[in-house]
């Protein structure tokens, strides 16, 4: 107990609080800029954090990491431009709500869900770090293959009608995801000798191009008088600018489910916040009592991806703190900062010197509270920022988006890709092909392919038999759950068809 109090005392100082406030504010602003990811925000602040004591620098870093997730949602909601890839799923319901004049409501729901997901995963981190890490580490390529197949299958339902167009869009995303080096043989695929393509297509140009630029091109054809008005209008009704208690209460089950999903996915190396957000969105739609509202401004559709992507931020520290293994790039950057500040993490740290770990826990919880308070300020600033003429905002998005896409790799090619994808996205929209399944296919398929082919390689060492996967308890459990899920869906569908009276 003394050790816990000693650790908390390190993080609950005035300097730490100030550092967290600066970190969260900087994270929210940087996160709102298209192209600047949470990892990039952390990388940008690391050089500055070394000028301070560990318990100023580290809390600032953690605050920035958390703040960037909510910042990214504000632009996703208001101008359909996710600040980071993790906020891409928030566009689906956040932007339609903003178009109805309820942007402030959408942003506040995103804020509550972000803080909820963050706090949930931090509590899991504090109480179950070692346990969850063991579960997560029992996942091998076979389990990942099942999990991603499950995700692709359920997310396929996101497709608009007719369904074949959504599936075709997803397959196009898969093809774009294959460009670059083969994950097993490292031979070039679909690069046609262009060295810029060897690294593969970046996620940032894809997201900005398909979601933001194509939308700007589409809106350019609106009437001139509409384009000279405000970029985003806000309803004057109080109920359209806040989340009421009954509305929040109705989202609580989704918040819990999505936070659990985000926590589990975050604890697994390699999946990350974007995957978690899309999976949680698909799951929320599947289990919702009002699935028809999804895509039209459903609060559950905002709560699910926001809770899930923020839950990843806490739980991806689980393998880092419990085993010293970073689960993603942001965690690796945080590990680097820990090491340079002289803070040891891993199994020995829990038994030999746990005080810094408790201080980190304290800083994480504090960062959530600061994120909530500053989030309200950001909602107000965002409302003011979008009160510019719509045509100016539209064309500014093009320039800022191209700068953001250049920033990540310093490649002019990425600027060109942004506009080419914008063009492709516009053409797809004109012919009724949805762009979201394309992005889902692009995000998930490299992981699926790598794991599937690793399974096949492993099978060749087991007398070329794939049956070895059934010796793995995690695989058997997941497969059983998947089969049960499919049977449940089939049964529900059969009952719906058998029922003669249509639902009102």
């Amino acid at each position: 107990m003394d050790l816990i109090l000693e650790g908390l005392a390190l993080s609950f100082t005035l300097e730490s609080l100030l550092a967290i406030t600066i970190g969260v504010a900087a994270g929210q602003i940087l996160g709102a800029i298209p192209g600047l990811t949470a990892s990039m925000a952390v990388a940008l602040i690391i050089p500055y954090s070394f000028y301070f004591s560990p318990w100023v620098g580290i809390p600032m870093l953690l605050g920035m990491f958390k703040g960037s997730f909510f910042g990214a949602s504000t632009t996703a909601i208001l101008i359909r431009t996710p600040g980071t890839p993790a906020a891409a799923a928030t566009v689906l319901d956040g932007h339609p709500l903003a178009q109805q004049g309820k942007g402030a409501k959408a942003m506040k729901m995103a804020l509550y869900a972000s803080v909820f997901g963050d706090t949930f995963s931090d509590i899991c981190l504090i109480f179950f770090a070692s346990l969850l890490a063991i579960v997560a580490l029992s996942f091998g390529p076979a389990e990942y293959t099942v999990l991603i197949t499950l995700a692709l299958g359920s997310l396929g339902m996101l497709s608009s009608r007719p369904a074949w167009k959504g599936i075709m869009a997803m397959l196009l995303g898969v093809v774009i995801g294959m460009i670059g080096l083969d994950p097993i043989t490292a031979s070039e695929r679909l690069t046609f000798g262009n060295p810029e393509l060897e690294e593969g297509i970046g996620l940032i140009p894809m997201l900005i191009g398909f979601l933001a630029v194509s939308e700007v091109f589409r809106q350019m054809n609106d009437k001139t008088e509409d384009l000279s008005g405000d970029a985003v209008w806000f309803s004057s009704k109080p109920e359209d600018n806040r989340v009421s208690w009954p509305e929040f209460k109705s989202c609580v089950p989704v918040l819990f489910r999505s936070s659990i999903l985000g926590t589990i996915i975050g604890a697994m190396p390699g999946l990350g916040a974007t995957v978690a957000a899309f999976i949680a969105y698909g799951e929320a739609r599947r289990t919702s009592k009002k699935p028809e509202e999804f895509g039209k401004g459903s609060l559950e559709g905002i709560a699910a991806p926001e809770a899930a992507n923020n839950a990843v931020s806490g739980s991806n520290l689980i393998p880092l703190l419990a085993f010293g293994i970073p689960g993603d790039i942001a965690a690796a950057l945080i590990l680097g900062a820990f090491m340079i500040q002289g803070i040891n993490v891993g199994p020995l740290a829990f038994s030999q010197n746990p005080v810094p770990l408790y201080a980190i826990y304290g800083a994480l919880i504090m960062a959530n509270l600061v994120n909530l308070v500053l989030g309200f300020g950001l909602v107000r600033i965002a409302r003011f920022a979008v009160k510019v003429p719509r045509r100016l905002l539209l064309v500014s998005v093009l320039v800022i988006a191209s700068a953001g896409s250049y920033a990540l790799r310093g490649s002019l090619f990425d600027i060109q890709l942004v506009f080419m994808f914008g063009l492709l996205g516009f053409v797809m929209m004109r012919f009724g092909f949805p762009t979201v399944p394309l992005l889902i296919g692009f995000i998930l398929v490299p992981l699926l392919e790598e794991n599937l082919r690793t399974v096949l390689l492993l099978a060749s060492t087991y007398d070329e038999s794939l049956l070895f996967v059934f010796q793995r308890p995690a695989f058997v459990t997941m497969s059983a759950l998947m089969v049960l899920g499919v049977l449940f869906l089939a049964h529900r569908r059969w009952r719906k068809r058998a029922s003669p009276t249509p639902k009102s």
Binding site: S160, A163, W164, I184, V213, L392, V395, A407, R493
Partner: protein, 182 residues
Amino acid sequence: MVALTQNIETRAELGQLLALLGLDAVFYFVVIPTGIIDPDGFGLDQGLPPSFSARLVAILAAGLMFLRCGQLMFLKTSAEDAMASPGGDAPETGLDLDSPSEGLPTRSLAGMAAALIFAFVIVPTIGFFPAGYVLLMVLLRVLGETRPVKLLLPPAMVMALVWVLFEQLLSIRMPVGMLFVE
């Protein structure tokens, strides 16, 4: 009248399917063989060959499109009906995010042309900031702004904001253009 509209929609969808089947064939028979070279003697014992995934995608796409063609021609005539094969739950989603619109989008086409010229020609030549300024002015004009002050001043302010943010605060050097390379 409804039947006529549905017939037109069905034909339009069949046209899209045929065009995409042609593209899929080009992808399978031309793009994959030239774009993905499988290492000699590569077999299942080393995992799957690099071209496997691309071929699988092309085959799946073709199968799906043939299925839909068959459905349109022999089973259902309405393009409004959601297909009952993979993804048949789609109507429940209500996710019609990207609905097609009518008419020739002249301003969108002009905007796209300006943006592509910006990315492929102007930025590499004169650099990001002057090019961005020109793009903003041109697009504002395309979108109906005629007042000279509103055409000149807001783009300068936007570019100044981008310069402060990226070049000064984040130390990210934007492209300078071949004309200004020292």
